[in-house]
Structures are given as structure tokens and as C-alpha cells.
Amino acid sequence: MFSLIRGAWTVLLHMFHRRVTVQYPDAKAYVPPRWRGRIILSRDPDGGERCVACYLCAVACPVDCIALQATEDENGRRYPEFFRINFSRCIFCGFCEEACPTYAIQLTTDYEMGEYKRSSLVYEKEDLLISGTGKYPGYNFYRVAGLAISGKDKGEAKDEEPPVDVKSLLP
């Protein structure tokens, strides 16, 4: 008898507590910016594809759900010919982002990826590539790297001396 009253009392008290249920999808929950959700490929500040197809994300991936193939364009830039993530396998661990030397691959705050068919969870480069820099503005790998690409010759990267004149013996 006493316990019944106590139960009713507790319920009554809860009516005055703050509500925790979110009316999803009408209302959205707060996700912190570091949330590890849907993966994207970003572009550098000049609009070029950031990914240089180095395969580091692929090898870092514990479930091996990233596959790509490197190729090179006429400007001497490396980029992925295809880039595929099988999200039906992805565990959103963020290792790929951690491994990426160019800030190309990033996990975002988007988690709304449910599908009826598993095959719809296979994303190709077209599905992954966004038009902005994502979480990391500013960084452009090719401005730092020693590789010459069209528009950035040897000696023009950050902290580089002009190319050596091999015919000179001057100190």
C-alpha cells in the first residue's frame, strides 16, 4: 500500500522535472562539432580536391571499408580515380581522419544515414566530395609539399629556397 503511494508521488514529482525526450525528427538534438558522423572529402581553399590518394586512411581503417585508386591529372596533382566508403561496415572510429595528412577526409556531425538497402550505404567519390574546406580552413597540402604542380614550381612552396643551380660551384 505504502509503495503504491510512493510510486504515485514520484510520478507526480516528475511532472515538474525538465523534459529529456527530444521530439526527433521535428526537433534535433545537439551534436558537438567533434561528433564522428558521415564522412566527407573536402577541398582546399583554392577549390582543388584535397585528397592526394595516399592510401593512409584506407590502411588505418580497422574494418577496411575504404578503397581507392590513385591517379594523376595533367597538372601533376595526385587525386583518387575512385574513392569508395562502404558505410555498412564503417564504425565511425575516426582513424581515417586521424591518418589523413591533408585534412581531406573528415567526419561530420551528420548521422542521418539510415537506408533500407545495404548497397545504398556504399558511397562513391561523388557522394563524398563537398565543395568547402570542412572543419579545417586554410590548409593546402601542395603549398607545403616539395612536389611541383602547375602553378607552383620548385622552390615556390612554403619555406623553400629557389632551385639549386647544379652548374655552379660557388659556396
Binding site: D64, I66, E72, K154, E161
Partner: protein, 905 residues
């Protein structure tokens, strides 16, 4: 047996070879010491300062001093520390210093993931850049179709020049500029001329030199599916590691075999692989009556009708197909109807070589032994172009002389620059006698150019000088006699003389004279070796299996005893004159071709079935030494491609012929082969059976870091396919399995914890630079007959006499272009010369032609028109034609050609 010494490493005693340098000794013991400039085949120069250790006077010395381990000999009681804090800091600061100018390139660098600089950086613990100043930069050079140049990444270790110039004898590459501007490249842009330039890719510890063909379809080392394989581009059988990803063959790397190729490959072997990916590949069965590919079942039905029991079927084998493929064909058609499919001339020459090696007292030398010979006589073979790595070995043999000098001066043999300084231009004897000037002459003691018959006469004369039971040569000019005497004297003074010859000039007499020289030396109790270059990867294996050339097959057809011919991986147009081949095809009712690429022969066939190329199947090849070597399937090819022997087995089963049905895997066929052919009795001995497991596990073809497993097929199906099974070997098409070191013949790649680059190899050898742990793989099929009573060859040819208006045409070889398979690869084709005729300028004048102009020449009643190239060192009356180049295939040389004087300019 070398003298041993006890040394103390961090206060623990170890036994090492006395006099070895400490780096060599420590690496052999399994210690990790970082290094750059030292290389096990090129030894020490002490240039990079990376391999520092601390040496102590005695056990009471606590101070010690830092020394370079690669420049310090191990003597009794040497005390060193690798772990000492100060020396660790020293090594770390060396890397930090090297890194000050190193570009931020790893993600876009093809060396990444198998970079010795990365490995050493991690090993020393340098992880943070403190240097805030600017980086030095360089411009790159175009170095031809094979090697990519990215000079910013150089750490100035000098390995590249030491290999290219000192080891391989190249001249068009060097070090330029001074101080921290030192540059490694050519004096001006252009293709690297040396035949071994591809080794720079593995020699350079950084990403300065990378594989240009690999760059086109780049994949990291950890993503390559690999298996042990054997090069198919010449008769030497260098061991290779082909790598595959997404069904495409991506590159070839060297697979160390202490007895065969050691650390190096030639450019044909390294870059010739692209034919496997070429458009010309046959991927599905084809039938003449249908323009579309035909389903397998339909082809099988059709074939079984053609080969029904009782039909008259002949089989033509191939020296570029595996033993198993040839044996399956031989079993299908019967021994009497099997033809080896080489040209009539090659059949004769190969038969002779086998006779000499199997019956005579001289041993067939391995490549490693050739490199250690102390006097060499090359008779009639342009080894640089027909058996490239043999030339590299011979170049090392001439360097052995310095070793004697060093002993006198007490210079350790690994002290490379001191050795070279002491030696200056001193060389060990190397005599080269060939029809035309060959590259090896750069390092020869003496060279002689003559027509094949005259070369044979020189050989016979040398043999006669050594042993007068060997026939004398009548009418030998004085000069030649003196030369023969000189060669004989030098050879008889040597302890391990080597006689090199081969099928190159197409003369049996040359082979016989070479055999006589070696035998005469053996009978003087010298351990003389013989090394014969043979044209293709399985020439010797095929010759051991059967007789009968293409011409014999043609004869059988013309005698009317044939309904169906099965041609195995062979283009008959390369083996006989076009007219003869055409008339053969006209006569045979049904032609079945089993091959991997479209050839002239395949396009004439009624039925073509797709065979596996070397990387797509298993098999055994016998190299020029008589060493049977197994190559393993690297990847599962698409659609209907299968090993030839599998096709043949199935055809046989379908046609109701008894026999091969019980062959499920390669082991069964190897067993059958060793039971039925005496020469192959021991062939299974070095073979690891398919059922072999280590702790119950397969040996994985994929590295444990293989990526993309759950995504690479996801565009086709999200359900990951089960890895294919391998019935033929203990290797699996998977990343799962035994992670330690497999037996030597089964090593799919060189990798060890902390050692991602090719230098991981150190961990796979019983001693650095020595044989692989457990012995180098391969099974020699014949050994010399010690007490051989075989008598000397006694048919000395008459002296060559030039004919008026005619030329004796001999073959000239080109490393790029003269071999069929590699010539189908774009980068090799790009490097191949066009057809030409080489003439002595004086001869050309006689015929009123000049360099660059076309000359018309009729050979065997057929006229060819070819541009003239001057070769001043040709003997007069002799001309050369490139072997195997387009337009000249199938021509049997040497032959006389009549120059048509009226040739208009």
C-alpha cells in the same frame, strides 16, 4: 671456413666472422642499426654517418668513442654498444640533419610505406622538426620511360652513383655540383642508358628514384597481393616478386636468391611485365566462326569433338610456357606427336647444350658463381643483351682482382673506396670474342670480332693449347694463334675459370669449341664452369622434355598425318619463315591455340583459349643453369583465363581420352612428370607441396595491412566474396595466415617489423648478403659427370671467307625488343630500336650504300629493305640483323644475304 671472433655488444658476447665490418656483423645477428650508404652488395664507404655505435677499449673503458660500424672491423674482443644513450642521440641527430632539407612529400611519394628513410627515422625516434629555415630544392630530370626522378628527396648517400657507375658500369649518370647542393642525375635530360637502371628504384633509400610504370597505376606496398615468381624474359630465371591490385599487375620487384640474381634485376625483367595488362590479352575463348567470345561449355564441346578418341592430333609446345603446360600437352597428344615448338636451329643448339652439361665434366655455373669466377672467356654471346644479369655478374668478376691486392695491403674487402683506390684500373681477365662489338668489352682484357666459324676456331685453338687431345685448328693465322695461346695461359692459371657461350650466334661449332675449352680445363684439374645463355625462360626445360622442332611438326603435317594441331603459348611466325607457317596453317584442318596474348598464330587459329600469363598461374621453369624454379600464382585472373595445363586437362577429359583427369593440382602433374621423364626425377624435391601448412595456417599473399577488403567489391555487391581457394600451393589469396617467415621458396614479400622497405631482406638471410635462411630455392637438374669419358668435339670448321656481293648475316640482340613478351609492353617497345642492318662502313662502301639509307637485301629468296647502320668493328663480309624485331621475325640466321646494288639511295 672463416675465422671467428668474439665481440661484445652491450656487454653480451657474440661470435661473428673475424674482419667483417660491425654493421654487417650486427645486422646478421639480428640487431637493428640504422644505415644508408652501406649496401650488402656494394659494401661500405662511410658517407652517411648513420650507422654509429660506441666502441670501448676494454671492459674498464666507460667513456668509449663513437665509430661508424660499417667502417670498423670486428676483431677478437671488440666491445661496442648500440644502445648507449649518447650514440642513440647521435644517430637521431644525423637523421634530424638529413631531414632539414627533406620535402613534405610522403603522402604523394611513391616510396612511402616502403621507404628506408621513413623506417630509419622511426627507428632513431626523430619525430619533430625543429629546423625553422628554408629547404633546398632541385629541378628534376626526365630519365626515360622506366625511372622517375624527384631530386628534392635526396639525402646524399651516394648509393645511386656507386651502383650505377661502379657496380653496373654505367657512364651517363653521376654526382654534380658541390657542398649541400650535390645533385644526382645525368649531364642533361634523357633516358638512362644502362640496362640495370631500374635497380635505382630499390637501391635509393628514398623516393628520388621510383618506378615510372608503377606510378601509372600506383598502389602502396601494403596493398599489393604478391607471390614468389620467376622472370620470363630471358633464360636466366631471375627471381621476382610481382604485385597485383584490383586485377591489374602493378609492378615487379626483385626477389633475392643468393644463387641466382642476388639483389638485382635487369630493366627488361623489371619493366617487361606490362604485357600482362595489355589490350592484346586473350580473356575469353574465341572461335573463328563467331566474332563474339564463346562460352566455355560450348568451346569445350567443340574441342572434344575435334580431339575425339582416334583423331590424329599433334601438339606444339613452347619454351615460354611452363614445364607443366608442355607436359600436359605432351600427355594429351602422346610423346610421338609432341613437338617442342622451337626453331630447327634452336632445337639443335639446345640439344647440344644439354648434352654438354649432362655428359661432360664441366659444371653449369649459377649467376652467383659466374660473379666469382677468376678468369672468363666469353665465346660468341652478347650477354648484355641476351642474358643481361649475366653481364652484371661478369662485371663483378673482373673486380675480383682488386681483392687480391687488398689482401696484400690489408684492406678489408668491404672498404669499397679503399679497394677501388688500391685497384685503380687493375682487372681480372675477361676475354670477349663475338661477331660484333658488345658492351662488355668496356671491361674486357681483350676482345675479338669474327664470324661465328672463326670464333669457333679460336675456341678450338684455345682448347688445343690447353690439352692437345682436343683437335688442332689448321691454318690458324699467327695473330690468332698468339691470342689463343694468351687466353689458354690465363685460363689455365685461374682456379675457377668460366667459359660463357650460348645460342646467340646460332652456331653449334661455337658451342662445341666452348665445351672443349671447359673440358680441357677440367682435365687439367681446374674447376672450370660453363655458362650457356639460352633464348627463353624455359628453353632448357623444354629441351629436356622432348625433341622435334617446328620444322618437324611442319613435316608431319605435310606427310598428311594430322587433323588437328594444338599450339601451346607459341607464335610460330617467330620460329620459322612466314611462308612455311602459312602453308602449315593451310594444311591442318583444325588449329587450336592456347595462349595469353593475340599473336600472328592465334589470329590464324580456329579455336583460341585464354591461357594464364606468368602472374596468373603456377608452374615450373628451368633456367640456363638447369635450375628448376617454381613460380606461383599472384592473383586470380578474370573470366575464363586458366593455366594451360588446366585447359589441356579439361579438354582431355571432355574428349574421352584417358589419363589426366586425376590431376587436381599442380603437385599431381609435377609428380607425373618426375615419374615419366628421367631428367625430371628430382624436380619435386625443392617443391613445397600444396598441403604444406605452418601451425595449420596458409601463407598469405596479402600483407597483414592489406586495405579495402570490405569496400573494393562493394560497388558490385556489399556481400564480401569468399577468398578464392588455391589448390596448387600453400599460399592463400587472403591476408589471413601465418605471419612469420615462410620457407625460402615461398617468400611472398620482404617485410619485417620496423623494416617496411626492401631492406627487410636482411632479416630473411642466414647472414646478410648470404643465402636465404634455409637455403636458396631452386633445384638443379643436372650435375657434371666427374670422371666423364666424353670425347672432345672434333669438327673444326674452316675459316670464314667473305663472298663477293654477299654478306653473312648474324643476329644482333637488343635487350629491349629482341624478346617477344616484354616487347608487348609499352615502355619496352618505346625503348626498342627499329629494324636495321648493321654493316662495316668499308663493306657498305663496296655495296654503294651509306648510313641511314635503305639497302635491299635478299635472304633465302626473300627481299628485305632495311636502313643501314655503321658498325665499324664488324669483321668484313659479315652483317648483323636485329633478332626478334618486327619485320624480321622468323628469319633463321646466320644466313647469307645478297645485296642488291641497284638499291636506290
Amino acid at each position: 671456413m672463416a675465422k671467428m671472433a668474439t665481440i661484445y655488444i652491450d656487454n653480451k658476447p657474440y661470435t661473428v666472422k673475424e674482419g667483417d665490418n660491425l654493421l654487417h656483423a650486427c645486422l646478421s645477428l639480428g640487431f637493428d642499426i640504422p644505415y644508408f650508404c652501406w649496401h650488402p652488395a656494394m659494401h661500405s664507404v662511410g658517407a652517411c654517418r648513420q650507422c654509429a655505435v660506441k666502441q670501448f677499449k676494454d671492459e674498464n673503458d666507460t667513456l668509449g668513442r663513437i665509430v661508424m660500424s660499417c667502417m670498423t672491423p670486428a676483431v677478437e674482443g671488440t666491445r661496442i654498444s648500440i644502445d648507449d644513450e649518447e650514440v642513440r642521440a647521435f644517430r637521431k641527430s644525423i637523421i634530424e640533419f638529413l631531414m632539414t632539407n627533406h620535402p613534405h612529400d610522403c603522402p604523394v611519394c611513391d616510396e612511402g610505406g616502403e621507404c628506408h628513410l621513413q623506417d630509419m627515422t622511426v627507428m632513431t625516434g626523430h619525430s619533430y622538426r625543429r629546423f625553422r629555415f628554408k629547404k633546398r630544392t632541385y629541378r628534376n630530370q626526365y630519365l626515360g620511360p622506366f625511372v622517375n626522378h624527384e631530386m628534392n628527396r635526396c639525402i646524399q648517400c651516394y648509393r645511386c652513383v656507386r651502383f650505377y657507375r661502379d657496380y653496373a658500369g654505367g657512364r651517363d649518370f653521376g654526382a654534380f655540383a658541390s657542398h649541400h647542393h650535390v645533385y644526382f642525375g645525368r649531364h642533361k635530360e634523357g633516358a638512362l642508358e644502362n640496362e640495370f637502371s631500374g635497380n635505382l628504384v630499390e637501391i635509393c633509400p628514398t623516393g628520388v628514384f621510383t618506378d615510372k610504370t608503377f606510378k601509372r597505376h600506383y598502389t602502396r606496398k601494403w596493398d599489393l597481393q604478391t607471390a614468389p615468381s620467376v622472370c620470363v624474359h630471358c633464360g636466366l630465371g631471375c627471381n621476382t616478386i610481382p604485385g597485383e591490385r584490383y586485377g591489374l599487375l602493378r609492378r615487379i620487384q626483385n626477389r633475392y636468391n643468393g644463387a641466382v640474381n642476388g639483389y638485382f634485376l635487369c630493366d627488361r625483367g623489371r619493366f617487361g611485365y606490362e604485357f600482362v595488362n595489355a589490350e592484346r590479352r586473350i580473356r575469353q575463348p574465341l572461335m573463328k566462326r563467331s566474332s563474339l567470345p564463346v562460352p566455355r561449355e560450348e568451346v569445350m564441346q567443340h574441342l572434344s569433338r575435334l580431339i575425339y578418341f582416334g583423331a590424329r592430333v599433334i601438339g606444339i609446345g613452347s619454351p615460354r610456357a611452363s614445364l607443366e603446360g608442355n607436359f600436359a600437352l605432351r600427355s594429351l597428344v602422346g610423346e610421338d606427336h609432341f613437338y617442342t615448338g622451337v626453331s630447327a636451329m634452336d632445337a639443335r643448339l639446345l640439344e647440344k647444350i644439354i648434352m654438354v652439361l649432362a655428359k661432360g665434366p664441366a659444371r653449369s655455373s649459377s649467376l652467383a658463381e659466374a660473379g666469382a669466377a677468376d678468369a672468363v672467356f666469353v665465346l660468341g654471346e652478347d650477354v648484355t643483351n641476351s642474358a643481361p644479369l649475366l653481364a652484371l655478374s661478369l662485371r663483378q668478376s673482373v673486380r675480383l682482382k682488386p681483392m687480391e691486392i687488398d689482401k696484400r695491403l690489408h684492406i678489408p674487402e668491404w672498404d669499397d673506396s679503399a679497394v677501388r683506390n688500391a685497384a685503380q684500373q687493375e682487372k681480372r681477365p675477361l676475354f670477349v670474342a663475338t661477331p660484333y662489338r658488345t658492351k662488355l668489352e668496356e671491361v674486357s682484357t681483350q676482345a675479338y670480332h669474327a664470324a661465328p666459324d672463326d670464333l669457333a676456331r679460336l675456341g678450338f685453338a684455345v682448347a688445343h693449347e690447353l690439352d692437345n687431345r682436343s683437335p688442332a685448328v689448321k691454318g690458324l693465322p699467327k695473330k690468332l694463334h698468339t691470342l689463343a695461346e694468351g687466353i689458354a695461359r690465363v685460363l689455365s692459371q685461374a682456379e675457377h675459370p668460366l667459359i660463357v657461350s650460348g645460342t646467340g650466334c646460332g652456331s653449334e661449332a661455337v658451342l662445341e669449341s666452348a665445351a672443349n675449352v671447359a673440358w680441357a680445363l677440367c682435365r687439367k684439374n681446374r674447376s672450370a664452369d660453363l655458362c650457356f645463355a639460352v633464348p627463353e625462360c624455359n628453353s632448357l626445360g623444354l629441351a629436356l622434355m622432348g625433341e622435334g622442332s617446328v620444322s618437324d611438326a611442319f613435316k608431319a603435317v605435310h606427310d598428311g598425318a594430322v587433323d588437328t594441331a594444338i599450339i601451346l603459348e607459341n607464335d610460330l611466325y617467330l620460329r620459322a619463315e612466314t611462308e612455311d607457317v602459312n602453308s602449315f596453317f593451310d594444311k591442318v584442318r583444325n588449329v587450336i591455340v592456347i595462349d595469353h596474348s593475340v599473336t600472328g598464330t592465334a589470329s590464324k587459329a580456329d579455336v583460341v583459349v585464354p591461357a594464364a600469363a606468368f602472374a596468373e598461374g603456377d608452374g615450373t621453369l628451368v633456367n640456363n643453369e638447369g635450375r628448376a624454379q617454381r613460380f606461383y600464382q599472384v592473383f586470380v585472373p578474370d573470366r575464363d583465363i586458366e593455366e594451360s595445363w588446366r585447359w589441356l586437362r579439361d579438354i582431355m577429359a571432355a574428349s574421352g581420352r584417358p589419363g589426366l583427369k586425376h590431376w587436381t593440382g599442380l603437385d599431381d602433374i609435377v609428380q607425373a612428370m618426375s615419374n615419366s621423364i628421367k631428367a625430371f626425377k628430382n624436380i619435386a624435391e625443392s617443391n613445397v607441396p600444396a598441403g604444406y601448412r605452418i601451425t595449420g595456417q596458409h601463407i598469405p599473399r596479402q600483407p597483414h595491412r592489406y586495405s579495402g577488403r570490405t569496400a573494393m567489391h562493394a560497388n558490385i555487391s556489399v556481400v564480401e566474396p569468399k577468398p578464392p581457394e588455391d589448390k596448387d600451393s600453400p599460399l592463400s589469396f587472403s591476408m589471413e595466415g601465418f605471419s612469420g617467415q615462410p620457407p625460402a621458396g615461398l617468400i611472398p614479400r620482404f617485410w619485417a617489423p620496423g623494416w617496411n622497405s626492401v631492406q627487410a631482406l636482411n632479416k630473411f638471410q642466414s647472414e646478410v648478403g648470404g643465402p636465404l635462411t634455409g637455403g636458396d630455392p631452386g633445384q638443379r637438374l643436372f650435375e657434371p659427370v666427374q670422371e666423364s669419358t666424353v670425347s672432345y668435339f672434333d669438327e673444326v670448321p674452316g675459316a670464314f671467307s667473305p663472298r663477293e656481293n654477299e654478306l653473312l648475316l648474324v643476329r644482333v640482340y637488343h635487350i629491349f625488343g629482341s624478346e617477344e613478351l616484354s616487347a608487348m609492353s609499352p615502355c619496352i617497345a618505346e625503348s626498342a630500336p627499329g629494324p636495321y642492318i648493321g654493316l662495316k662502313p668499308e663493306d657498305a662502301e663496296l655495296f654503294q650504300v651509306s648510313e641511314g639509307r635503305d639497302v635491299r637485301i635478299s635472304i633465302n629468296d626473300k627481299e628485305y629493305s632495311l636502313p643501314v647502320k655503321y658498325l665499324p668493328e664488324l669483321p668484313s663480309g659479315v652483317g648483323v640483323l636485329p633478332a626478334g624485331l618486327r619485320g624480321l621475325e622468323g628469319l633463321e640466321l646466320p644466313a647469307w644475304g645478297r645485296i642488291n646494288n641497284q638499291a636506290k639511295g
